[in-house]
Amino acid sequence: MTEIALGSADFLREHLRARLTLAMLVAIPALFVLVSSSVLGEFAAALGGSAAGDSASALGAGWAAAFLAGALGFFQVSSSRDADRRLALAGMGAARVVAARIAASVVLGVLISAVAFLTLVLTAGVAHGAHAFAAILAFALIYIGIGTLVGSVISEPLEGSLTVAFIFLIDAFSGPGMSGSGGAAQLMPTRKAADLLIAAGAGEGSPGGDWLAVGLTALGALLLAALAFWLSARPRTG
């Protein structure tokens, strides 16, 4: 357990030791929520969507957390492939490397989500604060899974970043409150999380089935991330 905690702390330090990266992890969600909160309602209306006012602002916070977490997940895998294998071979073992990576990712996801949530509270206010934070965190966790999955398939940073951005934009623009309501939009990874966030922004509760669906999606994403980290760290012959 201590080994996992130490490894996780080291992985966190690895990402946050560049002060500018840390500053951006804090500043970008805040700026994005601040700038987009005034226009997302108009944008949703242009796409024929229903998100308006505080619901649209809340959606912006989820988007900011999602993209940052996706990029983070991608770079965690793509930059750590060799190091993780060596760590595992040096005695830490693949399972503990994976647990430490997941713990570090979740901590970073919570940090990003907290910044996006606080900015949302300060700029637009949220009627259902706990619901909104949980939904924003779900956006981040789901995209940690997507980012790590992309990182396990694509190693080049440019191609990987573009792929994460592509998935994110399709997901965001076809989600609820924007253009999507049926067909392929139902299959988008953050669809249910967006439903929760929109409801929380409007001061409404959400059905238990939606919470269950979001919880299972986030859990599935973290399992995918664990698989991606394990593929990176697992011992290989030859």
Binding site: A46, A71, S161, S179
Partner: protein, 248 residues
């Protein structure tokens, strides 16, 4: 000297040619982003203000399609700039140690960046014309090209100063917030608010909006602003790369 620069440029393009996924993404992403923007946007009426002060009636669909071009070009060029410079910082110091001057190492990297920007711009314009024909092609193309080059250079600066992860964050959100929100006539009162004029996307966006929706040309001021951004960023990138390569 020119021969060595040409050789390094050829190698730079060959390096990119070995990455077929990159080429696929540079072609497919503009196609998907722009055609999709047209497809999902309602043709609701919208009055916008042109740079000369004239007001014109258009639709949200046309505006969204037109403004997606510089967002897409800026975003993709920015990411290419970011990672081309990261790659240059990792490997071009060896070229300088081997006898290349920093200038001979920098020119090929900038050539790759400009070429990638042109590819993305060409695809983006071709896709746009399926649904939207600008009133005046010259300013529309020039504005989009300037957006791509300016953001490509900002990406290059980010690559040298911020690192990969921070740079990727910056190059995704900056074009989105600048061109996609602040300069976007779909929002506010159909023209950028006062604070948006200090952002790098202001000049290019006003030039291309003028070209998109007016047959005359009233965007000389924004064009000059965009060219100043372009020159200042070019100088900054070259100075920074020279220092990095010489200091290595």
């Amino acid at each position: 000297m020119i021969g060595r620069t040409l050789t390094a440029t050829r190698m730079g393009f060959r390096e990119q040619g070995r990455r077929p996924l990159l080429l696929v993404l540079l072609v497919a992403l503009p196609f998907l982003f722009i055609s999709w923007s047209f497809a999902i946007t309602e043709p609701t009426p919208r009055v916008i203000a042109l740079p000369g002060g004239e007001q014109v009636l258009t639709t949200m669909r046309d505006l969204h399609g037109a403004i997606m071009v510089p967002i897409t070009v800026g975003f993709l060029a920015g990411l290419v700039g970011l990672f081309v410079v990261r790659s240059a910082l990792e490997s071009d110091r060896r070229l300088v140690l081997a006898g290349y001057s920093p200038g001979e190492a920098i020119v090929p990297r900038l050539a790759v960046l400009v070429c990638a920007t042109l590819i993305v711009l060409a695809v983006s314009l071709a896709v746009t014309t399926i649904d939207f024909v600008p009133s005046s092609w010259g300013p529309f193309v020039a504005g989009n090209l300037l957006a791509g080059l300016i953001y490509g250079l900002i990406g290059a600066l980010a690559g040298a100063l911020v690192g990969r992860l921070g740079g990727a964050y910056l190059m995704f959100f900056l074009p989105m917030m600048d061109i996609g929100v602040a300069q976007n006539p779909m929002f506010f009162d159909g023209a950028p608010p006062g604070w948006a004029t200090v952002l790098p996307g202001y000049g290019p966006s006003r030039v291309l909006i003028d070209g998109g929706f007016s047959q005359g040309f009233d965007a000389a001021g924004p064009l000059a602003v965009a060219l100043l951004w372009l020159i200042a960023l070019s100088v900054a990138v070259v100075v920074l790369l020279r220092r990095s390569l010489e200091g290595g």
